[in-house]
Structures are given as structure tokens and as C-alpha cells.
């Protein structure tokens, strides 16, 4: 599943909100959602629109976990590291997945195919351990199960 639509008009996103500093995060979120990352050009546009200095916008974009300034892979995998998931071994699952994809830590594979991220609790503790692959919850996941799902995506 391709995460980024390629025909989204960034100006349309910018114009969704009034040009005030308090909408900075809204805009960054919408851009992140549409393009999967916030390019420097997009950041500049947002600053122009909201009147926030670029350095402050950059600080915000790097402060919050959900923003990425680098393009993300075509497939997004979140592994939950909430307490319940941790107790049920999600740490090992995440490590194994990253090892299999050749990643040192959370991040994007070189071919831009996968991005693995860890999240601190998705609030689905009853399903621990949980992973979310391209928006689909994978309840009670195991390393082999997750690997299979991931590999299937790569073959598409």
C-alpha cells in the first residue's frame, strides 16, 4: 500500500486553517498525514502562513514524535512498546523485526520500502503485544507472524 498520495495539493492543506501560530501543529499534522513527512519546503510554507519563525517551527517538528522530516517508507509498521506489550515481549519483537529489515533502530530502510517505528502504548493493551501495519492492528502478534505480514507487503 503506497502511503503517500502523489497528487495532493499542499496549498489546499495550508488553506485549511487560518494563518495563526496556534495552527502550526494542525498544519504539520495534516502535511505529515498527506506526504508522510514534512519537507523543508512544506515547513517554509507553513511558517509563511502562520507567521511562526522557521526555527520555532523546526523545534516543534522535531519535538513531537509524530513528525518526520525525512521521507518515510512505503509501508509503515508500528510496534507498541506500552507496558502491557513490554511485559509480553514486544521489545524482542521490535528488535527482531528491525534486525530482519537491516535497521539499527527505528527508521526507514534504505530502499524506502519500510519504516519501523515504536510507539509508547496504542491503548490496545488487551491485545498485547500489538503491532500496527499500515493502519491495521495486529493483535497478539509474534515475531514470525509479523515477519510474514511484512514480507507479504514487500512482495506486492
Amino acid at each position: 500500500m503506497a502511503q503517500t498520495a502523489i497528487d495532493i495539493d499542499i496549498d489546499e492543506i495550508i488553506e485549511r486553517y487560518p494563518g495563526k501560530p496556534e495552527y502550526l501543529i494542525f498544519l504539520l499534522q495534516d502535511i505529515q498525514a498527506a506526504f508522510n513527512y514534512i519537507s523543508s519546503e512544506a515547513l517554509t510554507l507553513v511558517c509563511d502562513h502562520t507567521g511562526v519563525p522557521e526555527s520555532q517551527a523546526y523545534a516543534v517538528a522535531t519535538f513531537y514524535n509524530s513528525f518526520s522530516l525525512e521521507p518515510k517508507g512505503e509501508n509503515l509498521i508500528h510496534v507498541c512498546l506500552g507496558t502491557a506489550c513490554h511485559l509480553k515481549g514486544s521489545g524482542l519483537i521490535a528488535e527482531n523485526l528491525m534486525r530482519r529489515l537491516g535497521l539499527d533502530g527505528p527508521g526507514t530502510t534504505e530502499d524506502l520500502k519500510y519504516t519501523v517505528e515504536t510507539v509508547n502504548c496504542l491503548g490496545a493493551c488487551a491485545l498485547a503485544p500489538v503491532a500496527v501495519v499500515n493502519g491495521q492492528y495486529q493483535p497478539k502478534v509474534t515475531s514470525p507472524k509479523l515477519m510474514k505480514t511484512v514480507q507479504k507487503l514487500g512482495d506486492e
Binding site: I10, S39, E41, P53, E54, S55, Q56, A57
Partner: protein, 202 residues
């Protein structure tokens, strides 16, 4: 006029003064790192903490931001206060071992060595954010900011490359309490080459 006691001495203050203002006006020294007179107080380094006692209760507050109030009983160098200062300084010794200012300050509190791992022996920056605040509040340039958060935090211009907001006035260097900005300054003030490739995907 408000009256309060600092370290057992009765002192007077006006509404709107901070505890630090009041102490300094009365010649009482409180150590600070993230505080500079030119910018708004920030309350981050916690070196200026003082103890407020009320009956059996006691708590620590940052004197740079805590307002003077009628009847406060303030202690600027109690054991509880010094314990916090000593730990912060010891941790700073391991975090930014290159800073002589920190070493001197730590020595004043009897902290000579650190028992923690040193990850970057060249590091001087204590991330007090004074440079960032001075750039915004004194200069109005907003050229630098904190980048990232928590333990990964650092200071720099957007994308950690020279940007065109910096006016190279050096205010950040002057206000830096450890001299760390001096090295970083070169990565901020460079004249940016005109970015040719400005374009937006759409």
C-alpha cells in the same frame, strides 16, 4: 512592600519581584546557569532552587521564577537544596566535561569527579537554552532553537545548517554560560548559499 525571611534574615520585596531578585538585592548569592538578566526567566537548570518551609512541610522552588510572597520562609543553601545542586553539577560534569565554568562551579559544591559515564568529552553545552531565548527576545532574529527533545536535544538553526535568519550578532555567544555557543556559532552564522532547489512537491 512584602516582608519575608531568607536564610533567617528579614528582607523586604515588592510585588512582582522574584525570590532571586530579592536575594540578590540583599546580597545573597544563589547560583544560576539558565538565568540571564536580558531574557525572561526559564526555570530549567534548577540550580537556583531554594527551599520553602512552612511548618513541617518543605518544598523546593526555582528562585528565578518564584515570586516573592508575604511571609515566605526561604532557605537558599539548606542540605536539601545543596543535594539537588550537587547532583545536577555532578551529572553536568559527565554531560559536558569540557566546560571549565561547570568544573569551577562544581568544585564550589565539593563535586570534583563524576561517577557517571562520559559520552562526549568535548561537550560543553548544558542545553540551558539561553542562546535560543536571547536570539528570540533580545535580537528578535529567532535564528536558533532547540532541536529534538529530552536526552537527544540540541541547539541549532533549522536543519543544523546556517540559515538566513541569523544576523551574526553574537549575542548567543555572549550570553552562553559555558562557552559552548562559541563552537556552535560557526554552524549558525555562515552566510547561507542561495538555495536553488526550493520547490514543493504537490
Amino acid at each position: 512592600m512584602l516582608s519575608l525571611t531568607i536564610d533567617g534574615n528579614k528582607v523586604e520585596a515588592e510585588a512582582g519581584w522574584s525570590l532571586l531578585d530579592t536575594a540578590r538585592q540583599n546580597g545573597i548569592e544563589i547560583p544560576t546557569l539558565c538565568y540571564h538578566e536580558a531574557v525572561e526567566p526559564f526555570g530549567a537548570c534548577r540550580l537556583c532552587v531554594v527551599e520553602l518551609r512552612q511548618g513541617n512541610n518543605s518544598r523546593l522552588v526555582a528562585s528565578c521564577v518564584y515570586p516573592a510572597e508575604q511571609g515566605l520562609d526561604v532557605y537558599t543553601a539548606s542540605e536539601k537544596v545543596n543535594n539537588v545542586r550537587r547532583w545536577i553539577l555532578e551529572m553536568l560534569l559527565s554531560e559536558c566535561p569540557a566546560s571549565s565554568e561547570i568544573r569551577e562551579m562544581a568544585a564550589q559544591y565539593g563535586v570534583q569527579t563524576t561517577r557517571f559515564e562520559i559520552s562526549d568529552p568535548e561537550q560543553e553545552c548544558i542545553l540551558c537554552g539561553l542562546c535560543v531565548r536571547a536570539c528570540a527576545q533580545v535580537v528578535g532574529a529567532n535564528a536558533i532553537s532547540t532541536v529534538g527533545r529530552g536526552a537527544q536535544k540540541e541547539i541549532g538553526s533549522p536543519y543544523l545548517t546556517p540559515g538566513d535568519d541569523c544576523v551574526a550578532c553574537g549575542t548567543c555567544v555572549t550570553v552562553c554560560p559555558t562557552g559552548a555557543m562559541s563552537a556552535r556559532f560557526e554552524r549558525v552564522r555562515g552566510v547561507p548559499s542561495v538555495v536553488m532547489a526550493r520547490s514543493v512537491k504537490r
